[in-house]
């Protein structure tokens, strides 16, 4: 049974529980049993999530998105628009926010919560304009000595004709290169799906955080399955061998920190992890801001050079 079916079952049990008359003493026992059954089911299921369950949770339609985290973590936020070259890409949001009394530049992928929003933000799949907006805002942050926080949540770059015509490859490459050389600290938080180059482009952090049930991979499990097994429906199997969970990435030394989520995923209680995430951002940034510009760049450089390194 997949996680979606289990979620539906739990939901069904909850509805049953809610339907029972609280004042009926005869139902007391039944209510207790139902509540216990729900808790036990949750505990068993969510403590034994496999990689594909995490992919499901990372893509969950109710999963909190970048806009939610911006709202929750920061005291003020002004969004800036446009790449000054061609257009504005709603798949990437950017601007300046106040983390307590510290101004930070924020850049993140946007997945919508409604179909309209999703269409507008292209389901979080950026076009070249998105990366070029990110470049513009990152360089602006550097100019004003502001640290940067990026939120990653994308299935990947958009495979379309316009995106190719306007140099998607170059846009990602340059964004990556600019981030690699930034003289201000960058913290990256993977909040949902970290998909391929589209995710990596804004993931050049001095410190990389993943939420517990987020995933980060070179391509989607479906894409991987269609290459490896020539069958996209074997995504679950593919996810199992791809090593895309937060634990996997921590093991590889790619990320530095995992922020815990509520038992059945961040959407269960979206505000639950905010204090821990805010504390992580605040304390990591205050450490990183003690470094000189040269040290910040070098720390990031060495961090990435170690990834998959064979000799270092």
């Amino acid at each position: 049974m997949d996680l979606k079916e289990i979620e539906n079952q739990i939901e069904h049990l909850r509805n049953q529980l809610a339907g029972l008359d609280e004042n009926d003493v005869k139902m007391q026992k039944l209510r207790q049993n139902l509540a216990k059954a729900i808790d036990e089911m949750k505990a068993e299921v969510y403590q034994n999530l496999d990689a594909y369950d995490k992919v499901y949770l990372a893509r969950h339609p109710k999963r909190p998105n970048t806009k939610f985290y911006i709202e929750q973590l920061f005291d003020d936020f002004l969004a800036f628009h446009g790449d000054r070259l061609y257009g504005d890409d709603d798949a990437i949001i950017g601007g300046v926010a106040m983390l307590g009394d510290l101004p930070v530049t924020v850049i993140g992928h946007v997945k919508g919560t409604t179909l309209d929003e999703n269409v507008k933000s292209n389901f979080g799949m950026p076009h070249p304009e998105g990366y070029r907006k990110a470049i513009r805002l990152a360089l602006q942050a550097e100019k004003f000595g502001r640290p940067i926080v990026t939120f990653v949540d994308t299935p990947g770059a958009y495979p379309g004709v316009g995106a190719e015509e306007r140099g998607q490859a170059e846009a990602i490459a340059r964004c990556l290169m600019i981030f690699m050389g930034l003289k201000v600290p960058v913290i990256t938080v993977v909040i949902g799906e970290g998909g391929s180059g589209g995710a990596l482009a804004i993931s050049g952090g001095n410190h990389l955080i993943m939420l517990e049930h987020s995933v980060y991979s070179v391509l989607s499990p479906e894409g991987f399955a269609s290459i490896l097994y020539k069958d996209a429906t074997r995504a679950k199997e593919a996810a199992g061998i791809m090593k895309l969970t937060a634990d996997d990435l921590l093991g590889f030394g790619i990320i530095d920190e995992i922020i815990k989520e509520p038992l059945s995923g961040a959407h269960e209680d979206p505000e639950w992890l905010i204090p821990a995430l805010k504390e992580a951002l605040t304390s990591r940034l205050s450490e990183l801001m003690k470094l000189s510009a040269v040290e910040v760049t070098e720390q990031r450089y060495q961090k990435f050079q170690k990834m998959g390194g064979l000799k270092r």
Binding site: A157, G160, E164, E165, M177, M180, L228, I241, L249
Partner: protein, 291 residues
């Protein structure tokens, strides 16, 4: 005009064939045992020997065949002037991906170590840090070894103040090494950034095909970007785009000529004129060497 369509169709078929062969089983390495090779574009039979002498360009239609890294180096480098780096660096299997170790062993048994060869070499007396990717090794995909070899080369170029010349060809990130492959994009691009900041010259030659993790990292941030005629270059592969948009792709889509028109390459240089072009660029940038 009819020819143009035919060629495009053929090229696309070619590329899709390569993508497909990467999905199934890597194609057997073409050991040149036959005397002739058939040009995929014009169907003319070409003597292998003539092909090699002519830099693997069809004498009838100028189709540019894919070159192995060794053949490319031989066609570029002044005799005896190549000091190879990390020649024996081979990939391990960090994700323990089914079938991957066996695949690597098979290729290595055929004498192919990895998808890139790097070193310091002279071209017409001008000294460059040179990397040549090889689509005959797992489609030139970039995994940990390709990333590491490139970074070692680029860092040495920065230290010794050498210009950098990279011949790119790749299907993208090496999916068998998963997320670690993706990170090689960041690694190589970070090293390029240092080389750039040191005020040093970086020339990249895009050859067919250059896609995905390579086109979206070090290959497209060079000072000067040269493409070979009709080379296929893009981020997403044509098959994926077609599946997504459910439309026919525009004619010439993702060809070198298309990229030139869209402003993403500086020039298209036929292979036979490449050394001459590098020589001219070297003079213009006061590249050092014995010359």
């Amino acid at each position: 005009m009819l020819d143009f369509f035919k060629n495009r169709k053929k090229q696309l078929k070619d590329f899709q064939g390569v993508v497909r062969s990467r999905q199934v089983e890597e194609k057997e390495i073409d050991v040149p045992d036959g005397l002739f090779e058939v040009c995929p574009k014009c169907d003319v039979h070409l003597l292998r020997e003539d092909l090699a002498i002519g830099s693997f360009v069809c004498s009838a239609c100028q189709h540019h065949f894919r070159m192995t890294a060794s053949a490319r180096l031989a066609s570029l480098i002044d005799t005896g002037r190549f000091e190879e780096m990390d020649a024996d660096l081979v990939s391990f299997d960090p994700l323990e991906m089914p079938g991957y170790s066996e695949k690597l062993a098979q290729l290595q048994a055929r004498g192919l170590k990895e998808a890139v060869r790097c070193g310091i070499g002279d071209i017409s007396g001008f000294t460059y840090a040179i990397a040549v990717m090889d689509s005959h090794f797992l489609m030139g995909s970039m995994g940990t070894v390709v990333g590491e070899k490139l970074v070692n080369l680029i860092e040495r170029a920065t230290d010794e103040r050498l210009p950098l010349l990279i011949f790119a060809t790749s299907g993208g990130a090496r999916m068998q090494e998963g997320i670690l492959s993706l990170m090689q994009m960041a690694k190589t691009t970070a090293a390029i950034k240092k080389h750039q900041d040191a005020g040093l010259l970086y020339i990249c030659v895009l050859t067919s095909p250059t896609y995905g993790g390579v086109s979206a990292s070090f290959a497209t941030v060079a000072d000067i970007i040269i493409a070979e005629p009709e080379a296929l270059i893009g981020f997403a592969g044509p098959r994926v785009i077609k599946q997504t948009i459910k439309q026919v792709l525009p004619k010439g889509f993702q060809s070198a000529e298309f990229l030139l028109e869209k402003g993403f390459v500086d020039m298209i240089v036929p292979r036979v004129e490449l050394v001459k072009t590098i020589r001219r660029l070297s003079k213009m940038h006061r590249v050092g060497g014995s010359k």
